[in-house]
């Protein structure tokens, strides 16, 4: 039982980070109907920004850690907006395949630029939040998992509020449903798209920092596996569906953690792909999604 709870906490903590990344894929898909493969590299850039900002202070505190996150989130929001503006927007009227290939190109560009600028070797990530361990019976809850969970929950709650209760959030949902009708309301679709990229990228940065804080060795290719897994999480939840992405992230995080702790542990990295195949076979709309006919 103890073992079970321990694994569950680990799974939730990893899963909530997948959830943060998955939301970015799903947000962008919602308004533009394509998968932004460069998203996982924005996650990586977020971690490096967190490392550079975090190094400026030797003391770790909750406030300081949050400042580091905020800084990296702002930088990555801008990066996401720039990527959309200069790589994707000029191709808006082209085929989805063109944009998809461009996204892969942007991803490779960021990975190579990362190796050039940050260096190819793994680097230690500073301990930006104070550490502490809590113990209940045999179950150990490290402050790392606690920070990861609390920050992820607060961010997802904030996002949900933004999307459901604010004017810009409603405009995002309207534009995702029918961009032409949205523009007839006076909504500037380009602004909504920029905002969406900024938002998704900020969440990726938060995910990247939390990831680096939990697994404190970072390198320019660190985004590849979590990015792919989170993409599967978004598909699992129903691509385009925000609560679905969150749920998908948690589910995959938990499954992956339990597999890692079992005698099939060598398969843990393949879990996401096995799941992807199963979803596509049995429930292509995902857990919470409803499959819509392709818009033209």
């Amino acid at each position: 039982m103890t073992e079970f709870f321990q694994q569950l906490i680990n799974g939730l903590s990893v899963g909530s980070m997948y959830a943060l990344i998955a939301i970015g894929y799903t947000l962008v898909y919602g308004v533009l109907r394509f998968i932004n493969f460069a998203h996982s590299d924005v996650f990586m850039v977020g971690a490096f920004m967190g490392m550079y900002i975090g190094r400026t202070s030797s003391k770790s505190s909750i406030g300081g850690g949050l400042m580091v996150m905020a800084g990296a989130m702002v930088i990555c929001a801008l990066l996401g907006i720039l990527i959309e503006r200069f790589a994707y927007r000029p191709l808006r009227s082209r085929s989805k395949l063109t944009v998809l290939i461009t996204a892969i190109g942007v991803s490779l560009f960021l990975e190579n630029a990362g190796q050039l600028i940050f260096g190819p070797n793994p680097q230690p990530f500073p301990n930006i939040f104070p550490s502490h361990t809590f113990q209940y019976d045999q179950v150990v809850l490290s402050s790392k998992d606690l920070v990861v969970l609390v920050v992820a929950i607060v961010l997802m709650g904030g996002l949900q509020f933004l999307v459901l209760k604010t004017k810009i959030g409603t405009a995002m949902r309207a534009a995702a449903f029918n961009p032409q009708a949205a523009s007839l309301m006076g909504i500037n679709i380009n602004n909504v798209i920029s905002f969406t990229f900024g938002l998704g990228s900020a969440l990726a940065a938060a995910g990247g920092i939390l990831w680096a804080y939990k697994f404190p060795k970072i390198d320019p290719l660190m985004g590849v596996m979590p990015g792919l897994t989170a993409f599967v999480a978004a598909v699992l939840g129903g691509i385009g569906n925000i609560p679905g992405a969150a749920l998908g992230g948690l589910v995959i995080g938990i499954i992956e953690t339990f597999v890692k702790g079992s005698r099939w542990s060598t398969w843990s990295e393949a879990i996401a792909f096995v799941l992807l195949i199963l979803i596509l076979l049995f429930r292509p709309a995902g857990l919470l999604g409803t499959l819509q006919p392709e818009k033209v």
């Binding site: 409603t170 523009s183 007839l184 309301m185 006076g186």
Partner: protein, 236 residues
């Protein structure tokens, strides 16, 4: 108020509008009738900025708005209720209406408009919390019109408001269109396949056929016109 001059629109190699001209005066109801595929929807979409025009001018209050982006055109007080209604089915009725008032910063003005829309379409008030996708066709049309009114337009374009709606509701909706015109002084350009109804409530009409205006006259005269009668009024 609105003057379209020699408007030309192509879809790739297909020429949908071959230089049409029409005019809507302040406070007027003008209708554009024509068979399916004549180019009515294309005309409205080109005016409201959803489509690029290849040639011609769209003068709105004396200013050429051809090829301004759609969101800039709404700002000028020109609102378009598109074909097929295009309500946001994933949003509630109230959220749809609020999107209509997207550019309005003044909360009091929004409240006033909302009250006016609810007064005009009480059904929308009853269903304001409901997800718009669950409304009936007629209610969705009311919502589409209400949403357009929320931007406090001076000029309203309606694309086939009678399409796919129960006859009884069609009558109500057309009465409301007249009421909006009379009470708010909003000029209206109405596109319809239901020529009977459209000519009944409008003052002036244009007949569009494969991208050309082939006839134009007072609506009362068009209703008596033998050519219009046989082609669009079912020979009545």
């Amino acid at each position: 108020m609105l003057e379209v001059k020699n408007l030309t629109v192509n879809y790739g190699a297909i020429c949908a509008l071959r230089g049409i001209s029409l005019e809507v005066k302040q406070g007027d109801i003008v209708t554009l009738i024509g068979a399916n595929g004549a180019g009515k929807t294309t005309t409205l979409r080109a005016i409201s900025g959803l489509l690029r025009a290849q040639g011609g001018e769209v003068l709105y209050e004396g200013r050429n708005i051809a090829n301004l982006p759609a969101h800039k055109i709404v700002e000028l007080g020109l609102s378009h209720v598109p074909e097929g209604r295009m309500i946001f089915a994933n949003l509630t009725v109230l959220e749809n209406l609020m999107m209509g008032a997207y550019l309005q910063k003044d909360r009091r003005v929004i409240e006033q408009e909302l009250e006016y829309v609810f007064g005009t379409f009480p059904r929308l008030k009853e269903r304001q919390k409901q997800v718009a996708g669950t409304l009936s066709g007629g209610e969705q049309q009311m919502l589409a019109i209400g949403r357009a009114l929320m931007s406090k337009p001076k000029f309203l374009m309606l694309d086939e408001p009678s399409l796919g709606i129960a006859p009884l509701l069609v009558k109500t909706i057309f009465e409301k269109i007249v009421e909006i015109n009379r009470q708010q002084g909003i000029s209206i350009l109405l596109v319809e396949q239901n020529a009977n109804l459209a000519l009944e409530i409008s003052r002036y009409g244009y007949v569009l056929e494969t991208g050309r205006i082939i006839l134009q006259d007072q609506s009362s005269a068009l209703r008596q016109n033998p050519q219009v009668k046989s082609a669009y009024l079912g020979g009545v």
